[in-house]
Subunit: 91 residues, 2 copies
DNA sequence: CGTGTAAGGAATTCTGACACG
DNA sequence: CGTGTAAGGAATTCTGACACG
């Protein structure tokens, strides 16, 4: 079970690829982190690393914002998701 | 079926992360590409992008080389694998 | 509030080549 | 044959700040 998700949660994607895949700007992606909506890991030198799950999450977030939902409210919703803790912690 | 492997084959990992995960040098990773053992995609600006499958493959290759098997022979073996074509083509 | 941008610096990656053997 | 390395350049990413509103 856990193994099936190893690729989904593993944080290995740099921010450039993320903006490519999500269509968001780096500014947006970093801001959602600042607001504790996503939790990238860092390389030794400080570069952000995201998971496939983060990619999906970011697109989800951006879509909600576009619909007028505020970031604080989005975070509330997210924190109730069952995979939330997992997302924050998995390497 | 195909969907289950989307994360496995998707090329999104830059070479720095790859060397981190595999323990190989960038030189080695690029050389195996030169010899047609792995097929990274490229970003618009030419940066290499690898998949999780590539990571596994690279470690497999390195291990075989360490055991004295020549690259040409390794390629022969690889080309017989059922997922070979898939690996070469998937975005 | 959420995002754009210019700024300066640091880390990453690229290619082609020389070296060893 | 497989890998290390120095070289020079180009692309990426980082942070903190100003701007709009």
């Amino acid at each position: 079970m856990i193994n099936n998700y190893s690729y989904l949660y593993k944080k290995v994607i740099t921010i450039g690829i993320v903006t490519e895949m999500t269509g968001l700007s780096a500014r947006q992606v970093r801001y959602y982190e600042e607001k504790n909506l996503v939790f990238p890991k860092r390389t030794e030198s400080g570069r952000r690393k995201y998971s496939f799950f983060d990619i999906k999450l970011l697109m989800d977030i951006a879509e909600k914002i576009k619909r007028g939902i505020q970031i604080d409210d989005i975070r509330m919703k997210l924190m109730n998701r069952e995979n939330w803790e997992e997302n924050m912690n998995v390497l």
